[in-house]
Symmetry: C2
């Protein structure tokens, strides 16, 4: 009799759906924040995001189905034993994160963050010229589910979208032009908006640094809704302070929470949101997560191929 | 030899284009803020928005081509003499104002204004659930050029759009359902977002009052980017404070600038921008204005029908 540990806030109906797949297994439902190391060590199957430091390559753990889209904390050596199947929830966050990035984009180009600052002082002021997405060139870096949904939103309101991805493929609907990550530097000078959805892997670490910001136009807005490590925060502060780019927004930072004394907080042309674009803030996200969990649990039980299996060498799904 | 007074900041090229239409006329280019009453009284043709109080039904004034979309200040008795042709610049602001309203909508539904407040205090906090435009019901009140462009933006990102207009017509592309202004109360209870682009006329005065807010859902967001008089500000404060609606945004207020001690400034769930959605903040707006001015000046000179002629009884274009 296998033990299933569930760290995702399922409804009673969703619990019943899960248990119906393997009625003879034993199920525990624990809050993410309250789970103990003993509970993790005991589990054969985990749904959710246990702290990587509590797993210790548990010999019992056969299958870890994350609720997260990024698996960066779990592919490091010593976290999972060889043979543990690791799956992400890629696909669950597409709508929530892409829409948050889209909202950040509109706020930046229409200067709503600056007008909010004025409002706090009851100042009826003029923050100057604004720009549009109609006819703008938007470079979307990372063209997984989230990036592609963002690309389609931008395209739907009239932007010219350049998608940047690791592997060549046919140009997806909603993307006007495709290029490889290696060619990023050739498209950055054309961008009015650069939006990154890159995961946190060794190859994306500090990809956005002084050199990359310098390739953008002084009128470019940069947005990061992937992982905070893709962005060199000190370089971004310099780029904003020196007018190398026009403004930036990030839902993710290299260290989270961002320390209260970090200079990024104080950048006038920088919008920071506290890694809330995903989570369960948009109701559809939890529905998507549950649907992936159920499908993968069913596949696991039948010995069929799992969805979103993580490749331990790249940190991406295979 | 007729005298033409231009209060719009034209480029040298645009001045040459205007003068080429009637080379024997006399042209003066004056800043909006620096024009004198004598200059206004002397002019036969004015391009721009002279202060209504400086016109005094001038006998010389044959044709007033506003740079503004709304003509509310000019249709009042005593401002213009009978026979002066009054034209608005309806159509010039569609992109700029609709996009600003769209940006306000995204900011509200993703709570970016609240995260900006947190950022000012370097607080990494969680402001709770957000919503989406995908599948949301968006009621667009006032379906002129601006309203229609907003409707199309909302429709393009997956909203179900209900357009509200004065006169029945075929349902335009980008609008899913059409209703008359008289039926507004029947659609407000269905709205996730209500966005008003109503002009400032006698019939729109305080249309959005206690009764109308009460018809909306507690989760509804209300946005006003038409004229400030369409909205009862005190009623809006009550609706926000009592949770009758979820939040609001306005680029226009009944008195502008909004007095520093007005309670609207302090509403946490209210975004205020200082009537900047139009103006010349988006470069394409000035291009649109010039193009309307040139076309209407040419028509005026040839005695042909003018575009955007204002009906003095309704305040709308005929």
């Amino acid at each position: 009799m296998k033990k299933v540990l569930v760290l995702i806030p399922l409804s009673e109906e969703q619990k019943a759906q899960l248990e119906a797949l393997a009625p003879d297994y034993r199920y525990s439902y624990v809050k993410d924040s309250e789970v103990t190391e003993a509970q993790i060590q005991d589990a054969n199957i985990i749904f959710g995001n246990p702290a990587p430091g509590m797993i210790h390559a548990s010999a019992n753990l056969e299958f870890l189905q994350l609720a997260a889209s990024g698996a960066d904390g779990y592919v490091k050596s010593g976290v999972l034993k060889e043979g543990t199947a690791l799956c992400s929830c890629t696909g669950a966050y597409g709508q929530a994160v892409s829409e948050h990035a889209f909202a950040l984009t509109w706020s930046l180009i229409k200067k709503l963050h600056l007008y909010r600052d004025d409002q706090a002082k009851a100042v009826w002021g003029d923050e100057g010229m604004v720009s549009s997405l109609r006819g703008a060139t938007v470079v979307v870096v990372g063209l997984g589910d989230i990036g592609l949904q963002y690309a389609r939103l931008a395209h739907a309101v009239g932007a010219y979208v350049i998608g940047v991805k690791r592997r060549l493929s046919a140009c997806p609907e909603g993307v006007d032009e495709l290029c490889l990550t290696d060619e990023l530097d050739t498209v950055l000078p054309r961008a009015d908006v650069v939006c990154s959805f890159l995961p946190g892997t060794a190859s994306t670490y500090h990809l956005f640094n002084d050199e990359r910001y310098a390739k953008m136009k002084p009128s470019t807005y940069f947005i990061n809704c992937g992982r905070g490590t893709a962005l060199d925060g000190e370089a971004l502060c310099r780029a904003l302070e020196q007018g190398v780019i026009a403004g930036a927004a990030a839902d993710v930072t290299e260290v989270e929470p961002l320390p209260a004394d970090h200079p990024l907080w104080k950048q006038r042309n920088m919008i920071i949101t506290p890694h809330i674009s995903g989570g369960f803030h948009l109701p559809v996200t939890l529905e998507n997560i549950v649907s992936i969990c159920l499908a993968n649990f069913a596949a696991y039980l039948k010995g069929e191929e799992l969805r979103n299996v993580i490749d331990f060498t790249t940190g991406y799904k295979k």
